[in-house]
Chain length 199, copies 2
């Protein structure tokens, strides 16, 4: 136990990354996000883009579905990525209080660390508008992009964690970012964290 | 639109009723809870105990499953209760800002009123301890009591609302009452409500 860590799980397009960064600034904590991917890549010897892509994908039919030979390398790499991810998350957590966005940190760190586990989500309309503003237009309709990403994140989370994605019971706090706004959610998380530290 | 209303949905044993009452005191609002049952009973001519019991039950197989003759009266009453419940909730909401605990108010009022929709939950251990402290021991193991009640609430909510019970997307805010405590949750809800009013 090294002090409370905030983990942020989030739906694609809900603004989780920005909220994590803002809350970290308010609290004077470090926020880990893309950096975790770089570290996994470095530790595993796999390319960063490959890690980024693979760490939200699973094979059709689940991680341990019967594998054709062509799939073997991909699956082996995915297991390497997952075990490296667990190691990297624990190294980060061991350094003390911080904010970690994504990467199933809520699950990986749940038994060994004191966590404030947050889930951020929003209505599809709000998220569709946000991804177009943040990531630009694409050939694919924004609602379709959301649907694909939601499906992948859900599959990834559920296969590795054995918990239901987006089930409030996995978290201390779930916030609709469409209701409270990006700044509002960051304030709320920072306030709650400070209140809990005072106890 | 008559001003913001807080709806509190809650898992059995999570302390939702107490939190609603406390938040209402802090905000100087009226909190509607058991009183809704009394009003439904009065309006429908059915006994209060019957309404209370029936309003968290559904027939095996769903509300509109094939009904035997013996079931017919029960089903007809349940539909009466539901339509009276919708009417009573809308009458309450029309009076202005307040807190409403349970009764699918989040769903019934969603299109016509400005709501802050809250879902309260907690781990089974926390809830089991709470129901023994609040409602006393019973012949039935507290975990079994929770499981039965969870199942009923879920079935009731999902049959009448066509939404998934406990899905964060139905709410603005979901709080684990085991993490923040009864008083802590009431403070948080009251603070958020006041902040939203200032916007």
């Amino acid at each position: 136990m090294t002090g409370k860590i905030i983990t942020i799980s989030r739906q694609f397009g809900s603004g989780g990354r920005t909220i994590g960064k803002l809350a970290a600034e308010k609290l004077g904590l470090r926020c880990y996000d893309r950096e975790i991917i770089s570290r996994i890549a470095m530790d595993s010897g796999l390319a960063e883009d490959y890690v980024s892509e693979a760490s939200e994908h699973t094979e059709q039919g689940g991680l341990f579905a019967t594998l054709g030979e062509a799939d073997y390398m991909g699956s082996s790499n995915r297991l390497t990525i997952w075990s490296t991810q667990c190691k990297v998350l624990k190294e980060i957590a061991a350094k003390g209080p911080c904010i970690i966005v994504g990467r199933c940190a809520d699950y990986v760190l749940r038994d060994e660390y004191d966590l404030l586990k947050v889930f951020l989500y929003a209505d599809a309309d709000v998220r569709a508008e946000r991804i177009v503003n943040e990531y630009g237009e694409s050939d694919v309709n924004p609602k379709k992009r959301l649907k694909d990403k939601d499906k992948r994140r859900k599959a990834y989370y559920e296969i590795y964690t054995d918990q239901r994605y987006g089930d409030p019971l996995n978290y201390d706090l779930c916030l609709n970012t469409g209701t409270f706004g990006i700044e509002g959610c960051a304030d709320l998380i920072a306030d709650l964290y400070e209140k809990q530290l005072k106890k």
